[in-house]
Symmetry: C2
Amino acid sequence: MNYRFIIQYDGTRYSGWQKQGNTDQTIQGKLEAVLEKLAGEPVEVHGSGRTDTGAHACGQAANAHFHTERSCGQIKDFLNRYLPQDIAVLDVRTAPHRFHSRLNAKQKTYCYRIHTGQVRDVFTRKYTHHMAQDFDLEAMRAAAALLTGTHDFTSFCGNRRFKKSPVRTITQILIEQKDQELQLWFTGDGFLQNMVRILTGTLAEVGMGKRPADSMTDILEAKNREAAGEALPAQGLTLMSVSYE
Amino acid sequence: MNYRFIIQYDGTRYSGWQKQGNTDQTIQGKLEAVLEKLAGEPVEVHGSGRTDTGAHACGQAANAHFHTERSCGQIKDFLNRYLPQDIAVLDVRTAPHRFHSRLNAKQKTYCYRIHTGQVRDVFTRKYTHHMAQDFDLEAMRAAAALLTGTHDFTSFCGNRRFKKSPVRTITQILIEQKDQELQLWFTGDGFLQNMVRILTGTLAEVGMGKRPADSMTDILEAKNREAAGEALPAQGLTLMSVSYE
Protein backbone atom coordinates (compact mmCIF):
# COMPACT_ATOMS: atom_id res chain seq x y z
CA MET A 1 0.00 0.00 0.00
CA ASN A 2 1.11 3.55 -0.72
CA TYR A 3 0.76 5.90 2.27
CA ARG A 4 0.82 9.71 2.31
CA PHE A 5 2.13 11.65 5.28
CA ILE A 6 2.02 15.24 6.48
CA ILE A 7 4.99 15.94 8.73
CA GLN A 8 5.96 18.79 11.04
CA TYR A 9 9.50 19.28 12.28
CA ASP A 10 11.77 21.61 14.17
CA GLY A 11 14.83 21.27 11.93
CA THR A 12 17.30 22.78 14.42
CA ARG A 13 19.05 19.48 15.20
CA TYR A 14 18.95 18.03 11.68
CA SER A 15 21.02 18.01 8.50
CA GLY A 16 17.83 18.75 6.54
CA TRP A 17 15.14 16.47 5.19
CA GLN A 18 17.15 14.28 2.89
CA LYS A 19 19.17 11.23 3.92
CA GLN A 20 22.82 11.58 3.03
CA GLY A 21 26.06 9.72 3.56
CA ASN A 22 26.45 8.18 6.98
CA THR A 23 24.51 10.63 9.13
CA ASP A 24 21.14 9.57 10.49
CA GLN A 25 20.46 13.15 11.56
CA THR A 26 17.91 13.75 8.79
CA ILE A 27 14.14 13.79 8.97
CA GLN A 28 13.87 11.21 6.18
CA GLY A 29 16.31 8.95 8.03
CA LYS A 30 14.35 9.20 11.31
CA LEU A 31 11.06 8.42 9.54
CA GLU A 32 12.51 5.47 7.64
CA ALA A 33 13.96 4.00 10.85
CA VAL A 34 10.57 4.07 12.61
CA LEU A 35 8.70 2.78 9.54
CA GLU A 36 11.17 -0.10 9.27
CA LYS A 37 10.38 -0.98 12.87
CA LEU A 38 6.66 -0.86 12.02
CA ALA A 39 6.79 -2.74 8.70
CA GLY A 40 9.50 -5.24 9.63
CA GLU A 41 11.43 -4.42 6.46
CA PRO A 42 13.32 -1.43 5.04
CA VAL A 43 10.99 1.36 3.87
CA GLU A 44 11.93 4.16 1.50
CA VAL A 45 10.25 7.52 2.16
CA HIS A 46 9.82 10.04 -0.68
CA GLY A 47 9.55 13.66 0.39
CA SER A 48 8.08 16.50 -1.67
CA GLY A 49 11.59 17.92 -1.77
CA ARG A 50 14.63 18.65 0.37
CA THR A 51 14.68 21.20 3.11
CA ASP A 52 17.95 22.86 4.16
CA THR A 53 19.97 21.99 7.24
CA GLY A 54 18.29 23.81 10.12
CA ALA A 55 15.11 24.71 8.20
CA HIS A 56 11.70 23.68 9.55
CA ALA A 57 8.40 22.34 8.27
CA CYS A 58 4.80 22.75 9.36
CA GLY A 59 3.46 20.64 6.51
CA GLN A 60 6.09 18.63 4.65
CA ALA A 61 4.48 15.96 2.44
CA ALA A 62 5.90 12.48 1.89
CA ASN A 63 4.84 9.02 0.76
CA ALA A 64 6.07 5.45 1.21
CA HIS A 65 5.10 1.97 0.01
CA PHE A 66 4.94 -0.74 2.69
CA HIS A 67 2.74 -3.46 4.11
CA THR A 68 1.11 -3.44 7.51
CA GLU A 69 -2.03 -4.69 9.25
CA ARG A 70 -2.33 -1.36 11.06
CA SER A 71 -4.91 1.33 10.23
CA CYS A 72 -3.80 4.82 9.21
CA GLY A 73 -4.62 6.08 12.71
CA GLN A 74 -2.52 3.32 14.25
CA ILE A 75 0.39 4.09 11.90
CA LYS A 76 0.20 7.74 12.92
CA ASP A 77 0.18 6.83 16.64
CA PHE A 78 3.10 4.43 16.18
CA LEU A 79 5.17 7.07 14.37
CA ASN A 80 4.46 9.76 16.95
CA ARG A 81 5.31 7.37 19.77
CA TYR A 82 8.74 6.44 18.36
CA LEU A 83 9.82 9.59 16.50
CA PRO A 84 11.90 12.19 18.41
CA GLN A 85 9.93 14.99 20.07
CA ASP A 86 10.95 17.47 17.36
CA ILE A 87 9.28 15.52 14.56
CA ALA A 88 5.51 14.89 14.44
CA VAL A 89 3.27 13.19 11.90
CA LEU A 90 0.04 15.18 11.56
CA ASP A 91 -1.74 12.97 9.04
CA VAL A 92 -1.47 9.51 7.48
CA ARG A 93 -3.73 8.34 4.65
CA THR A 94 -3.66 5.83 1.82
CA ALA A 95 -2.85 7.03 -1.69
CA PRO A 96 -3.11 5.65 -5.22
CA HIS A 97 -0.23 3.30 -6.06
CA ARG A 98 1.38 5.77 -8.47
CA PHE A 99 1.16 8.82 -6.18
CA HIS A 100 4.61 10.37 -5.61
CA SER A 101 5.07 13.30 -3.20
CA ARG A 102 7.69 15.04 -5.27
CA LEU A 103 6.57 14.28 -8.82
CA ASN A 104 2.90 15.08 -8.18
CA ALA A 105 3.44 18.24 -6.11
CA LYS A 106 1.75 21.27 -7.70
CA GLN A 107 2.54 24.10 -5.32
CA LYS A 108 4.64 24.72 -2.25
CA THR A 109 4.34 27.51 0.29
CA TYR A 110 7.27 28.66 2.41
CA CYS A 111 7.35 31.28 5.14
CA TYR A 112 10.51 33.17 6.12
CA ARG A 113 10.26 34.82 9.55
CA ILE A 114 12.39 37.80 10.59
CA HIS A 115 12.27 39.05 14.19
CA THR A 116 12.60 42.82 13.87
CA GLY A 117 12.53 43.76 17.56
CA GLN A 118 15.51 45.53 19.05
CA VAL A 119 16.14 42.56 21.39
CA ARG A 120 16.09 38.88 20.35
CA ASP A 121 12.95 36.89 21.16
CA VAL A 122 14.00 33.90 23.27
CA PHE A 123 10.90 31.84 22.40
CA THR A 124 11.10 32.14 18.60
CA ARG A 125 14.88 32.42 18.37
CA LYS A 126 15.24 29.04 16.61
CA TYR A 127 12.47 29.75 14.10
CA THR A 128 13.23 33.34 13.14
CA HIS A 129 16.24 35.31 11.93
CA HIS A 130 16.91 38.39 14.04
CA MET A 131 17.35 41.72 12.20
CA ALA A 132 16.79 44.71 14.49
CA GLN A 133 15.65 46.90 11.58
CA ASP A 134 12.72 48.82 10.22
CA PHE A 135 11.81 47.61 6.75
CA ASP A 136 10.08 49.57 3.99
CA LEU A 137 7.29 47.12 3.26
CA GLU A 138 5.97 49.05 0.26
CA ALA A 139 9.36 48.91 -1.47
CA MET A 140 9.63 45.19 -0.66
CA ARG A 141 6.15 44.54 -2.08
CA ALA A 142 7.00 46.45 -5.27
CA ALA A 143 10.14 44.33 -5.68
CA ALA A 144 8.19 41.15 -4.89
CA ALA A 145 5.70 41.98 -7.66
CA LEU A 146 8.59 41.94 -10.18
CA LEU A 147 9.70 38.51 -8.95
CA THR A 148 6.21 37.01 -9.13
CA GLY A 149 5.44 35.05 -12.30
CA THR A 150 7.48 32.70 -14.50
CA HIS A 151 11.18 33.53 -14.64
CA ASP A 152 14.64 32.04 -15.02
CA PHE A 153 15.75 32.17 -11.35
CA THR A 154 19.44 31.36 -11.95
CA SER A 155 20.42 34.53 -10.05
CA PHE A 156 18.54 33.19 -7.01
CA CYS A 157 19.94 29.65 -7.11
CA GLY A 158 22.54 28.66 -4.51
CA ASN A 159 23.80 25.71 -6.54
CA ARG A 160 26.15 27.06 -9.21
CA ARG A 161 26.46 23.65 -10.86
CA PHE A 162 22.68 23.24 -11.27
CA LYS A 163 22.08 21.50 -14.61
CA LYS A 164 18.29 21.33 -14.96
CA SER A 165 15.85 24.08 -15.94
CA PRO A 166 16.11 27.10 -13.62
CA VAL A 167 12.66 28.32 -14.70
CA ARG A 168 10.07 28.45 -11.93
CA THR A 169 6.70 30.11 -11.43
CA ILE A 170 6.08 32.08 -8.25
CA THR A 171 2.32 32.48 -7.84
CA GLN A 172 2.35 34.81 -4.85
CA ILE A 173 4.66 36.64 -2.46
CA LEU A 174 3.00 38.06 0.65
CA ILE A 175 4.93 40.37 2.97
CA GLU A 176 3.40 41.13 6.35
CA GLN A 177 4.58 42.72 9.57
CA LYS A 178 2.93 41.26 12.69
CA ASP A 179 4.07 43.07 15.82
CA GLN A 180 7.84 42.47 15.95
CA GLU A 181 7.86 39.82 13.24
CA LEU A 182 8.20 40.32 9.49
CA GLN A 183 6.89 37.34 7.52
CA LEU A 184 7.54 36.67 3.83
CA TRP A 185 5.27 34.00 2.31
CA PHE A 186 6.24 32.46 -1.03
CA THR A 187 3.99 30.18 -3.07
CA GLY A 188 5.15 28.61 -6.31
CA ASP A 189 5.41 25.44 -8.36
CA GLY A 190 8.89 24.77 -7.02
CA PHE A 191 11.97 26.51 -5.67
CA LEU A 192 15.65 26.08 -6.57
CA GLN A 193 18.29 25.36 -3.93
CA ASN A 194 18.39 28.19 -1.30
CA MET A 195 16.03 30.18 -3.55
CA VAL A 196 13.62 31.30 -0.82
CA ARG A 197 16.50 32.36 1.43
CA ILE A 198 18.16 34.34 -1.40
CA LEU A 199 14.84 35.92 -2.43
CA THR A 200 14.26 36.94 1.20
CA GLY A 201 17.80 38.29 1.60
CA THR A 202 17.43 40.35 -1.59
CA LEU A 203 13.99 41.67 -0.59
CA ALA A 204 15.34 42.52 2.88
CA GLU A 205 18.06 44.64 1.22
CA VAL A 206 15.32 46.45 -0.71
CA GLY A 207 13.44 46.98 2.57
CA MET A 208 16.58 48.50 4.13
CA GLY A 209 17.09 50.86 1.16
CA LYS A 210 20.24 49.08 -0.04
CA ARG A 211 18.76 48.20 -3.44
CA PRO A 212 15.99 49.84 -5.48
CA ALA A 213 12.83 47.78 -5.92
CA ASP A 214 13.04 48.00 -9.72
CA SER A 215 16.48 46.36 -9.75
CA MET A 216 14.78 42.94 -9.53
CA THR A 217 14.34 42.91 -13.32
CA ASP A 218 18.08 43.40 -13.84
CA ILE A 219 18.90 40.71 -11.29
CA LEU A 220 16.65 38.18 -13.06
CA GLU A 221 18.12 39.09 -16.46
CA ALA A 222 21.71 38.80 -15.20
CA LYS A 223 21.25 35.02 -14.66
CA ASN A 224 24.16 35.34 -12.25
CA ARG A 225 24.14 34.47 -8.57
CA GLU A 226 26.40 37.48 -7.85
CA ALA A 227 23.64 39.84 -8.95
CA ALA A 228 21.25 38.92 -6.10
CA GLY A 229 21.59 39.43 -2.35
CA GLU A 230 22.80 37.16 0.42
CA ALA A 231 20.94 34.01 1.44
CA LEU A 232 19.51 34.53 4.92
CA PRO A 233 20.09 31.73 7.49
CA ALA A 234 18.03 28.54 7.21
CA GLN A 235 16.65 28.78 10.75
CA GLY A 236 14.16 31.47 9.65
CA LEU A 237 12.69 29.22 6.94
CA THR A 238 9.65 26.96 7.30
CA LEU A 239 7.99 24.84 4.61
CA MET A 240 4.33 25.54 5.36
CA SER A 241 2.46 23.30 2.93
CA VAL A 242 2.61 21.29 -0.27
CA SER A 243 -0.46 21.05 -2.47
CA TYR A 244 -1.53 18.40 -4.96
CA GLU A 245 -4.24 18.23 -7.64
CA MET B 1 22.54 53.34 41.45
CA ASN B 2 19.56 50.98 41.62
CA TYR B 3 18.56 49.51 38.24
CA ARG B 4 15.31 47.76 37.30
CA PHE B 5 15.23 45.03 34.67
CA ILE B 6 12.55 43.23 32.67
CA ILE B 7 13.82 39.81 31.64
CA GLN B 8 12.57 37.15 29.24
CA TYR B 9 13.82 33.58 29.37
CA ASP B 10 13.29 30.13 27.97
CA GLY B 11 13.73 28.18 31.22
CA THR B 12 14.23 24.78 29.58
CA ARG B 13 17.95 24.54 30.36
CA TYR B 14 17.82 26.16 33.82
CA SER B 15 17.30 25.16 37.43
CA GLY B 16 14.84 28.04 37.79
CA TRP B 17 15.40 31.70 38.53
CA GLN B 18 17.08 31.51 41.89
CA LYS B 19 20.76 30.89 42.49
CA GLN B 20 21.33 27.81 44.61
CA GLY B 21 24.22 25.72 45.84
CA ASN B 22 26.97 25.20 43.32
CA THR B 23 25.06 25.26 40.04
CA ASP B 24 25.38 28.32 37.82
CA GLN B 25 22.49 27.06 35.71
CA THR B 26 20.05 29.64 37.05
CA ILE B 27 18.81 32.84 35.46
CA GLN B 28 19.87 34.89 38.47
CA GLY B 29 23.33 33.33 38.30
CA LYS B 30 23.74 34.12 34.59
CA LEU B 31 22.63 37.72 35.10
CA GLU B 32 24.93 38.25 38.07
CA ALA B 33 27.90 36.86 36.13
CA VAL B 34 27.39 39.32 33.25
CA LEU B 35 26.69 42.26 35.60
CA GLU B 36 29.90 41.49 37.50
CA LYS B 37 31.78 41.66 34.20
CA LEU B 38 30.10 45.03 33.51
CA ALA B 39 30.48 46.57 36.97
CA GLY B 40 33.90 45.13 37.81
CA GLU B 41 32.66 43.87 41.17
CA PRO B 42 30.15 41.26 42.40
CA VAL B 43 26.51 42.32 41.86
CA GLU B 44 23.51 40.85 43.65
CA VAL B 45 20.31 40.64 41.57
CA HIS B 46 16.91 40.58 43.33
CA GLY B 47 14.10 38.93 41.36
CA SER B 48 10.38 39.47 41.93
CA GLY B 49 10.28 35.83 43.00
CA ARG B 50 11.48 32.36 42.10
CA THR B 51 10.37 30.51 39.04
CA ASP B 52 10.43 26.71 38.94
CA THR B 53 13.05 24.60 37.18
CA GLY B 54 12.02 24.53 33.52
CA ALA B 55 9.45 27.34 33.79
CA HIS B 56 9.72 30.40 31.56
CA ALA B 57 9.27 34.15 31.76
CA CYS B 58 8.13 36.81 29.32
CA GLY B 59 8.41 39.58 31.87
CA GLN B 60 10.30 38.68 35.02
CA ALA B 61 11.21 41.79 37.04
CA ALA B 62 14.48 42.26 38.93
CA ASN B 63 16.66 44.97 40.38
CA ALA B 64 20.31 45.39 41.35
CA HIS B 65 22.52 48.07 42.90
CA PHE B 66 25.84 48.75 41.13
CA HIS B 67 28.00 51.53 39.70
CA THR B 68 28.74 52.08 36.03
CA GLU B 69 29.43 54.91 33.60
CA ARG B 70 27.15 53.25 31.05
CA SER B 71 23.66 54.49 30.14
CA CYS B 72 20.63 52.21 30.60
CA GLY B 73 20.62 51.49 26.85
CA GLN B 74 24.29 50.52 26.97
CA ILE B 75 23.70 48.28 29.99
CA LYS B 76 20.88 46.55 28.10
CA ASP B 77 23.07 46.06 25.00
CA PHE B 78 25.94 44.73 27.14
CA LEU B 79 23.67 42.23 28.89
CA ASN B 80 22.11 41.00 25.65
CA ARG B 81 25.54 40.63 24.06
CA TYR B 82 26.95 38.43 26.86
CA LEU B 83 23.88 36.56 28.13
CA PRO B 84 23.07 33.16 26.59
CA GLN B 85 20.62 33.19 23.66
CA ASP B 86 17.79 31.87 25.84
CA ILE B 87 17.85 34.88 28.19
CA ALA B 88 17.08 38.43 27.01
CA VAL B 89 16.81 41.75 28.83
CA LEU B 90 13.90 43.74 27.41
CA ASP B 91 14.24 46.85 29.52
CA VAL B 92 16.71 48.55 31.87
CA ARG B 93 15.88 51.72 33.81
CA THR B 94 16.97 53.46 36.97
CA ALA B 95 14.86 53.09 40.11
CA PRO B 96 14.61 54.79 43.50
CA HIS B 97 17.25 53.58 45.93
CA ARG B 98 14.75 51.67 48.09
CA PHE B 99 12.93 49.94 45.21
CA HIS B 100 12.97 46.14 45.63
CA SER B 101 11.53 43.84 42.94
CA ARG B 102 10.11 41.32 45.37
CA LEU B 103 9.04 43.51 48.29
CA ASN B 104 7.35 46.15 46.09
CA ALA B 105 5.61 43.77 43.68
CA LYS B 106 1.84 44.30 43.70
CA GLN B 107 0.57 41.75 41.19
CA LYS B 108 1.93 38.91 39.10
CA THR B 109 0.41 37.31 36.04
CA TYR B 110 1.21 33.76 34.98
CA CYS B 111 0.03 31.86 31.93
CA TYR B 112 -0.18 28.06 31.80
CA ARG B 113 -0.35 26.70 28.24
CA ILE B 114 -1.81 23.28 27.40
CA HIS B 115 -1.53 21.95 23.83
CA THR B 116 -4.80 20.08 23.30
CA GLY B 117 -4.22 18.81 19.74
CA GLN B 118 -4.17 15.07 19.13
CA VAL B 119 -0.50 15.26 18.04
CA ARG B 120 2.24 17.21 19.88
CA ASP B 121 3.23 20.59 18.43
CA VAL B 122 6.96 20.49 17.69
CA PHE B 123 7.35 24.29 17.78
CA THR B 124 5.70 24.93 21.16
CA ARG B 125 6.66 21.62 22.76
CA LYS B 126 9.00 23.24 25.29
CA TYR B 127 6.50 25.94 26.28
CA THR B 128 3.29 23.91 26.56
CA HIS B 129 2.13 20.75 28.30
CA HIS B 130 0.51 18.27 25.91
CA MET B 131 -2.90 16.87 26.88
CA ALA B 132 -4.81 15.47 23.89
CA GLN B 133 -8.18 16.21 25.47
CA ASP B 134 -11.33 18.22 25.09
CA PHE B 135 -11.92 20.38 28.13
CA ASP B 136 -15.24 21.68 29.45
CA LEU B 137 -14.35 25.36 29.65
CA GLU B 138 -17.59 26.38 31.32
CA ALA B 139 -17.01 23.95 34.19
CA MET B 140 -13.41 25.16 34.50
CA ARG B 141 -14.56 28.79 34.61
CA ALA B 142 -17.15 27.99 37.29
CA ALA B 143 -14.42 26.33 39.37
CA ALA B 144 -12.04 29.23 38.73
CA ALA B 145 -14.66 31.68 40.04
CA LEU B 146 -14.63 29.84 43.39
CA LEU B 147 -10.82 30.10 43.56
CA THR B 148 -10.77 33.81 42.79
CA GLY B 149 -10.57 36.12 45.80
CA THR B 150 -8.70 35.95 49.09
CA HIS B 151 -8.22 32.42 50.44
CA ASP B 152 -5.92 30.19 52.47
CA PHE B 153 -4.27 28.28 49.60
CA THR B 154 -2.57 25.61 51.75
CA SER B 155 -4.23 22.89 49.64
CA PHE B 156 -2.54 24.36 46.54
CA CYS B 157 0.94 24.75 48.05
CA GLY B 158 3.65 22.30 46.95
CA ASN B 159 5.84 23.04 49.98
CA ARG B 160 4.43 21.09 52.94
CA ARG B 161 6.84 22.75 55.36
CA PHE B 162 5.77 26.27 54.37
CA LYS B 163 5.78 28.38 57.54
CA LYS B 164 4.52 31.81 56.44
CA SER B 165 0.97 32.92 55.73
CA PRO B 166 -0.67 30.78 53.03
CA VAL B 167 -3.29 33.47 52.35
CA ARG B 168 -3.19 34.98 48.87
CA THR B 169 -5.56 37.01 46.73
CA ILE B 170 -6.24 35.90 43.17
CA THR B 171 -7.67 38.84 41.27
CA GLN B 172 -8.51 37.06 38.04
CA ILE B 173 -8.39 33.66 36.35
CA LEU B 174 -8.97 33.70 32.58
CA ILE B 175 -9.44 30.45 30.68
CA GLU B 176 -9.30 30.60 26.89
CA GLN B 177 -9.03 28.08 24.08
CA LYS B 178 -7.13 29.38 21.04
CA ASP B 179 -7.11 26.81 18.25
CA GLN B 180 -5.29 23.82 19.73
CA GLU B 181 -4.05 25.65 22.81
CA LEU B 182 -5.79 26.05 26.14
CA GLN B 183 -4.44 28.98 28.14
CA LEU B 184 -5.05 29.63 31.82
CA TRP B 185 -4.09 33.14 32.98
CA PHE B 186 -3.73 33.81 36.71
CA THR B 187 -3.31 37.26 38.23
CA GLY B 188 -2.81 37.76 41.95
CA ASP B 189 -0.80 39.43 44.66
CA GLY B 190 1.47 36.41 44.96
CA PHE B 191 1.52 32.66 44.52
CA LEU B 192 2.78 29.90 46.81
CA GLN B 193 5.28 27.30 45.65
CA ASN B 194 3.89 25.31 42.66
CA MET B 195 0.53 27.00 43.26
CA VAL B 196 -0.19 27.91 39.62
CA ARG B 197 0.72 24.41 38.46
CA ILE B 198 -1.50 22.79 41.12
CA LEU B 199 -4.37 25.19 40.37
CA THR B 200 -4.06 24.35 36.68
CA GLY B 201 -3.89 20.61 37.33
CA THR B 202 -6.99 20.80 39.51
CA LEU B 203 -8.89 22.93 36.99
CA ALA B 204 -7.86 20.54 34.21
CA GLU B 205 -9.41 17.67 36.19
CA VAL B 206 -12.62 19.70 36.41
CA GLY B 207 -12.44 20.27 32.64
CA MET B 208 -12.12 16.52 32.07
CA GLY B 209 -15.12 15.77 34.31
CA LYS B 210 -13.00 14.13 37.03
CA ARG B 211 -14.03 16.64 39.73
CA PRO B 212 -17.14 18.80 40.07
CA ALA B 213 -16.59 22.54 39.76
CA ASP B 214 -18.17 23.20 43.15
CA SER B 215 -15.63 20.96 44.92
CA MET B 216 -13.18 23.89 44.92
CA THR B 217 -14.73 25.22 48.12
CA ASP B 218 -14.12 21.90 49.90
CA ILE B 219 -10.55 21.77 48.62
CA LEU B 220 -9.81 25.25 49.97
CA GLU B 221 -11.41 24.42 53.32
CA ALA B 222 -9.46 21.15 53.65
CA LYS B 223 -6.17 23.10 53.91
CA ASN B 224 -4.54 19.86 52.84
CA ARG B 225 -2.37 19.36 49.75
CA GLU B 226 -3.92 15.89 49.22
CA ALA B 227 -7.31 17.49 48.56
CA ALA B 228 -6.22 19.25 45.35
CA GLY B 229 -5.12 17.80 42.00
CA GLU B 230 -1.68 17.09 40.57
CA ALA B 231 0.79 19.84 39.73
CA LEU B 232 1.21 20.00 35.96
CA PRO B 233 4.80 20.11 34.59
CA ALA B 234 6.76 23.37 34.85
CA GLN B 235 7.44 23.57 31.11
CA GLY B 236 3.88 24.82 30.46
CA LEU B 237 4.27 27.72 32.88
CA THR B 238 5.34 31.27 31.96
CA LEU B 239 5.58 34.29 34.25
CA MET B 240 4.03 36.94 32.01
CA SER B 241 4.41 40.15 34.00
CA VAL B 242 4.96 41.71 37.41
CA SER B 243 3.30 44.99 38.25
CA TYR B 244 4.26 47.71 40.73
CA GLU B 245 2.48 50.77 42.10
